[in-house]
């Protein structure tokens, strides 16, 4: 008597009751595929969010005007405490690589009678390094353009697609931003959608000085992007930026900050945390269905033991030990669970694929979730199979042989 015999006996037992075996497996199939799908969708979402956050730039601090804690969200934009001079001062700080101020608003863009609404960003050339922008044709504007308040613009791909005929090179052409004529100096490579679902390519970049003086008539900026040398130096730079700005804005003692420094790494961590919690939540709901499947297996195994009492008695009479009988039923439950598990994994992978195709939602089936659900279904087989198997092994052979169906 060895394990191969046990598997043979179990397969024969399951084959003899095909319909019942398949229905029993269905519980595990649904449970396992639910776990796979939920983890795949959750991890896909998490990957997408972290991709989008890191596409905003790495090691990034964002300094915005307005009070930090307790401020109403969105109200910060109305406070005009940050200036270009603040940005310049920040760039003098140690461990700061790049600083790019930002002043943006929506505008109507016109080209040869066509119009399109897009966001313009007034900034400096350092924005290229922070946002990882690159020009596919032409080039980004220069420091001189910023110093001279030149009317030059770099276009995002969506604007080009919507305003220009396919055969026209936008570089060198003239567009109108809120009626003001700008010369196009470059076209940017596509960046895709942002975290909030916003199209990052529906934007044009102009010198920040031009945006302040020619378009908006203001002296402040909406945002200062600060890129630090390394991830480790972020919190140090954050506090030195805070100290510098308090000094520059003459804030002393108890008075609140009139600016707010956000650390993109912590935003990323928070978002990842949130999606991880969501994934665990979905997976635990799916795990409940796996549990229900396991109880179904126990139920069927109990029925099977009762039904086969005489068979068990006979097996004992011809020399099966309690261990043999225990093994037989345990292996049977294990085979049910594992084959259900494998079918569930395949089904789950297929459904995850379909979801990402139909909904455009990225999913990732990881080795971890496959191993988790395979291990889980095997554990369920042993756990829920043990009681019925123990019951079978504990039967008295004489009574079992006398058992009337």
């Amino acid at each position: 008597m060895n394990i191969t015999n046990n598997f043979e006996i179990s397969f024969n037992g399951l084959k003899a009751n095909k319909m019942r075996s398949v229905l029993t497996m269905l519980g595990v199939i649904i449970g396992v595929s639910a776990v796979i799908i939920m983890i795949a969708v959750g991890q896909g979402a998490s990957k997408r969010i972290s991709d989008q956050i890191s596409s905003m730039g790495s090691n990034l601090l964002m300094v915005s005007p307005g009070a930090g804690q307790g401020a109403v969200r969105g109200a910060g934009g109305n406070v005009n405490t940050l200036t270009l001079e603040d940005a310049e001062a920040i760039s003098e700080l140690p461990l700061v690589n790049y600083v790019a101020p930002e002043l943006s608003s929506n505008a109507t863009i016109g080209y040869e009678g066509q119009t399109w609404t897009a966001q313009y960003n007034g900034t400096t050339p350092e924005m290229q390094d922070i946002r990882d922008l690159s020009a596919v044709t032409g080039s980004f504007f220069t420091e001189d353009d910023v110093a001279d308040t030149n009317l030059v613009a770099v276009l995002g791909k969506t604007i080009v697609d919507n305003l220009y005929p396919p055969d026209v090179d936008p570089v060198g052409t003239t567009i109108r931003v809120n009626k003001l004529a700008f010369t196009v100096v470059g076209v940017l490579a596509s960046k895709g959608a942002s975290m909030g679902g916003q199209d990052q390519d529906n934007a044009l970049y102009i010198p920040v000085s031009t945006a302040q003086k020619r378009l908006m008539g203001v002296k402040y900026v909406r945002l200062i992007n600060v890129q630090t040398d390394t991830a480790e130096s972020m919190s140090y730079v954050q506090s030195s930026v805070e100290n510098l700005l308090r000094e520059r804005h003459h804030l002393t003692g108890a008075s609140n900050d009139d600016f707010n420094v956000r650390n993109l790494a912590s935003v990323l961590a928070t978002a990842e945390n949130a999606t991880a919690v969501m994934t665990m939540l979905l997976a635990s709901i799916a795990a409940v269905s796996l549990l229900v499947g396991g109880i179904g297996i126990m139920n069927i195994m109990l029925v099977s033991v009762t039904e086969r009492t005489r068979e068990i008695g006979l097996r004992m009479a011809v020399g099966a030990t309690e261990g043999n009988i225990l093994g037989q039923f345990l292996v049977e439950a294990l085979v049910l669970c594992l084959s259900g598990g494998i079918a569930g994994i395949l089904l789950g992978m297929a459904v995850a694929k379909i979801i990402s195709m139909l909904a455009g939602w990225p999913t990732s089936v990881t080795m971890f979730s496959v191993l988790l659900s395979a291990g889980f279904s095997a554990a369920i087989g042993v756990f829920f199979g043990y009681y019925p198997a123990k019951k079978a092994a504990g039967l008295d052979p004489i009574e079992a042989l006398r058992f009337e169906k």
């Binding site: 060895n2 015999n5 024969n12 009479a317 011809v318 309690e322």
Partner: protein, 251 residues
Amino acid sequence: MQGKITLKLDNIRKIYTMGEHKVLALGGVTLTVLQGEMVAIMGASGSGKSTLLNVIGCLDKPTEGTYILDGEDISGLNKDQLASIRNKKFGFVFQTFNLLGRVTVRANVQLPLIYAGMDKKEMAARTEEALQWVGLAGYINHLPSQMSGGQQQRVAIARALVNSPSLILADEPTGALDSKTSVEIMSVIQRLNREKGITVIMVTHDKDISLYCRRLIYLKDGHVVDDNMLADQRDAAADLAALSEKAGAQA
């Protein structure tokens, strides 16, 4: 009495406790069976004959007494050791055949060999040989449900002899069969006893069937009340031939 002793029961008692009641199933049975004997245990229902057979077959443990099988005291063995003894020394034949209905004749017959841990090649050879011996060589891939009662009991006998036991224990082997098939089964059992020299102990309440044995033991209220050697043993094969002739003449 001469010859090698197969089993020796000494003052075997079996008491069942059912709640507060104690039922005395065997009240001190002392019995010696020699190798090659063919014994019928008879008695009214409740006389303890099935209990005695279960104790002999190691399916049940006696409450008291000593049981020596092939020179080995097996009174104190544990469940796994008893299972191994059942596997090696006994073949069981039941009134209701107890074949597994969902698997083939082959799987049924080789069942004791699987628990003996035999390799596949030898298992197949012995299974075929046993089926050949009971005259069912062509039925190896049949399901029991496709066969008659007599054929099913012959499959059960093949299963009982496949592990070359020293004893075959039969509990009312003809109880579910008509009289002609009963004689046919008895002829197979007699052949087993004579040709293979296997000791046979069977429980029956049918006087006619008991006459095919050589020794009759009567049980009453858990005690042996009579133990006789029969002067002449009926020959089942001859009876079967006579029955077939009669049926032929009628037709």
